[in-house]
Symmetry: D2
Subunit: 346 residues, 4 copies
Amino acid sequence: MSGERTWTVGVTGATGYAGGEVCRLLAGHPQLQLTGVHAASSAGRRLGESQPHLLPYADMVVQPSGPEDLAGYDVVVLALPHGASGAIAAGLPEDVLVLDCGADHRLADPAAWARWYGTEHAGTWPYGLPELPGQRGKLAGARRIAVPGCYPTSVTLAMAPALAAGLVEPEVVVVAASGTSGAGRAAKPNLIGSEVMGAVSAYGVGGVHRHTPEMVQNLSEVAGRTVGVSFTPTLVPMARGILATCSAKVAPGTTAESVRAAYAEAYADEPFVHLLPEGQWPTTAAVLGANTVALQVTVDPDAGRLVAVAAVDNLTKGTAGGALQCANIALGLPETLGLPVVGVAP
Amino acid sequence: MSGERTWTVGVTGATGYAGGEVCRLLAGHPQLQLTGVHAASSAGRRLGESQPHLLPYADMVVQPSGPEDLAGYDVVVLALPHGASGAIAAGLPEDVLVLDCGADHRLADPAAWARWYGTEHAGTWPYGLPELPGQRGKLAGARRIAVPGCYPTSVTLAMAPALAAGLVEPEVVVVAASGTSGAGRAAKPNLIGSEVMGAVSAYGVGGVHRHTPEMVQNLSEVAGRTVGVSFTPTLVPMARGILATCSAKVAPGTTAESVRAAYAEAYADEPFVHLLPEGQWPTTAAVLGANTVALQVTVDPDAGRLVAVAAVDNLTKGTAGGALQCANIALGLPETLGLPVVGVAP
Amino acid sequence: MSGERTWTVGVTGATGYAGGEVCRLLAGHPQLQLTGVHAASSAGRRLGESQPHLLPYADMVVQPSGPEDLAGYDVVVLALPHGASGAIAAGLPEDVLVLDCGADHRLADPAAWARWYGTEHAGTWPYGLPELPGQRGKLAGARRIAVPGCYPTSVTLAMAPALAAGLVEPEVVVVAASGTSGAGRAAKPNLIGSEVMGAVSAYGVGGVHRHTPEMVQNLSEVAGRTVGVSFTPTLVPMARGILATCSAKVAPGTTAESVRAAYAEAYADEPFVHLLPEGQWPTTAAVLGANTVALQVTVDPDAGRLVAVAAVDNLTKGTAGGALQCANIALGLPETLGLPVVGVAP
Amino acid sequence: MSGERTWTVGVTGATGYAGGEVCRLLAGHPQLQLTGVHAASSAGRRLGESQPHLLPYADMVVQPSGPEDLAGYDVVVLALPHGASGAIAAGLPEDVLVLDCGADHRLADPAAWARWYGTEHAGTWPYGLPELPGQRGKLAGARRIAVPGCYPTSVTLAMAPALAAGLVEPEVVVVAASGTSGAGRAAKPNLIGSEVMGAVSAYGVGGVHRHTPEMVQNLSEVAGRTVGVSFTPTLVPMARGILATCSAKVAPGTTAESVRAAYAEAYADEPFVHLLPEGQWPTTAAVLGANTVALQVTVDPDAGRLVAVAAVDNLTKGTAGGALQCANIALGLPETLGLPVVGVAP
């Protein structure tokens, strides 16, 4: 049994937000032990300088992020910009569990990768969304896992039951609100506090956001046919959280009852997906810092549309928590081990 | 000529947010003079207690809000909860200009009123959205004006050109983000700062928000046929501002160019509607405190949808500024007189 | 040994912020088990209605808050407005551990209580700030503990080493910034989101805040003479966190080095007080949701003052975390058991 | 008479926050006409790209910022980092009114300049705080004006009456909360939204902030003797506003009444300084976008200290509004011309 065993974990990109969140969660995990932090820059500095909240790791020294620097861990988490993980992963032994929080290994279709990213496809890894039908089996024992993007996690889980059950037509409209940490830690003029506080703005409008093909891929696989996705992300004045509002035309015969039944059944045994009681709608505050998806769904009979709303913490279930959930599965540990389900509210 | 004349204005609901904004704008209007403030409660107190930002009016004493209390003004602005304005308006002379910021006189269809509000219909007044085709003529000289709701203002202006030109199918999906002032000043548990900061939540989901029939009414009139609207409002952590993300399937033959041309033409001469240069998307921060609508539109060829995004300040163009714009028209003043077009940013 | 034993815990005021935070932390505590939730109102409702983030307890039904309702627990946490806990505590057996998060049992001087609260003094309990010299001994085995206020926790820990070592004169000036959750969950007009977002305001200015005598009591005891405290609280636009900026004139001979040495020594073995490396100043974000105090101190040679800045989460170390830290001590458990030291950032 | 005359104004640093605010206010000024915008970078781009809220100026093209580029204006506003204005001003004719929003010409003592800035002193210009005793006379007709820093504006006005009247001892303790726009528009890692939202932090602690000598200079002049200032700035999660909490020990004989009388008299005729009614404390929200200082003062008899709290908008009265107020005086215009006194709240 695995009860006493621990695995060493190295995190690269540890000075960024996704990597920092992986470290935060590892501090509460009984069998995964953070033993090294890496980053493309900041090498040689104390982690506490960039991540003052990670008290137990404050005196760890940030190391470089080359493949050779990442050797020797049982588990390696890549929290890097897209394009960086392919080369690193290629240099790591096959029996090391590699969790890629970047986009490089998510898309199955090389043509889609080429269209959206414009570089050579690094290959496709098992997709780390265990709540998709049949997906847990692909993750058990895996040693390479592509962690989903934060928007696709929320949107896929919001719409999958309806599409799987044929309750809606395969054209989904999504408008999602995201906190600023989703845009990373690089200092960009449009992301400084003075610009984002007191402001809501749209960006990547018109189908150009790179998470779109990932949603199309997930939802099409669930539906068994091509699903179109109109996706508009918006930036809202908070650091963490995504609220995804998703809708589609209902198919003939779909009722509020059939919808609720489909969602209740789909997520009955899911430890991290919480279908709220009828009438209660999700707020991102309730899932802050937790690996939880808060979900609600209804039917608008006038407009003839199903509307599903999902709240996730983009850094937790949307990235780092999702990654460790997959690690638990891959390593044969209880899926929920060490992962918070209670949000930090208010 | 009207150049030198001034009109006296009384505002009721002056201790609330909409009423306070009317007062703020009146402080900058050269020919409309605030001479009395009223409220259903707070009578007898200095206005400065509840509205410390209204320095020039700080020592005005709040008066009661009965019809008799509102006699004697040239212009009366009603910034009250729905249901309150019918009786008051009935008690005012016909030659007094009455601007109702509440919902009571917006809907033309008594059955719609009954369904959505459940009370007796107070009658329909000219609808105060001058940017709608042919609407200015109905407002010139009017003495009763129904000021539009904040959500309908943004959504109607975002989608009207596309629907009027037949560029999209008549089914519109709207997800709008609103600051908390749109919910008014009453202290409700879900609106306290600890609940709304760091949080985005959806409410009124599934077609149950009362602004929905107003959008349907406006857009159907513009389109010349019934338009369905799926509307989901969300609450975001800021005090002011609405960002409405609207989309609809494009009709056959619609191109990005035909869309842009339609919007450019529709708003070419509008002083308060600003179609942004291509590639620039609206942010609510840019219109804070201004009577401006910032607008952008594009076509998503993959999803086959037109996406239009509008930003307004819910209290300014969305309520109080829209009201004074209508007052200018009704009184024969220049439409832009005294109304700010520059937002307070950052 | 106590390793396997669990204690049952009842929390009253569980629908409020302090009580909710106690519940949140109990969810991660291996030996304290939340078995009942109570509140003065809301009895009969699911806890999930008011505390949607507390997923594991969502279906617990809120019970009334009378003394008889609270019988049968090993540990009772009172998270109630001041004035409510005396009567309840009197009705509980002496061997039940009662943690009072309210003010009722903090002040040793009945005259001080009478002056600041105007009611009969409920008596003085051991004061739950283990970091004070000699205080742990008073808490070990205790069955009644007065949990400190959030402001006094931060201010006392910021200034105690300097006063204990005689490095400063006994007149302390404090300006503290607090998130809104410190004001509780009652819906008050000045606390709604529209009022607090984008705004900083001062309140309780001029020595009238009720936490002042608690600071005077703590600092005077540490200093061995009467310490004056000028305390100004301010409200800032965030839900959680306190940043206390404290200063006092340096005594003759005090140097930056002697100050740093005193603080380093005072907190060398404290698991929850973190003196930051020189040059790094605290931010509340780094301690969000953690039982950590982040602290820094320096000397301003021009002004001749020592300046100490402490950051705490008002709900965690400032209330609920401090309470459970005391419970650990009182019950003979490891002091840090089940308490997070890593903040949720960004 | 000056009634009809207009002056042309060029603003450099127009793509930043201070310069943008100057432009915003000029849009509402009847006799100062913005005719050119300049910046050290961004030359050749539309102003609307960086300042989307400045609709009337959106199509102005940003020009370079050399002395020769700034020739030909009646008024030049320098909104540049310190160190940049000396050379520019030297190249402009003496009869051009130059308003320097930077620090270069504020300090009278070259040694203080050398200590705090480390570069050659550019010389001292009349100090643009008309509310200081005798200062208006120095500004009337001036053609070079040093606009005060945002912190010194609030602190000086908060403490000047008490020091001038000898009501307090000459040692002032200031803790000020500032919105992020005070730190400028440069994209720095510690200023991105994810870092500042939900966080309060201290910086420049221990007497090292460069606004300190300016406060010392102002308050010493008012007091007629050297005044020590302990100044701690903190950063709070909002874009605009400063709340300065200032205190000093009361001198023998000082009473709450004598304090109030001194403040009431000092500011009785000041159009922009508003001493609030007793019991009402300032909030930054009430002065957002306005040239107003909201002020309150009291005495804490236990601590023996006078406490004064001032709220300003750092970009308006704290910078751009203060600059235009000075321009009005210098040009012989009514001091309040074109300057808003009503804040944008909520």
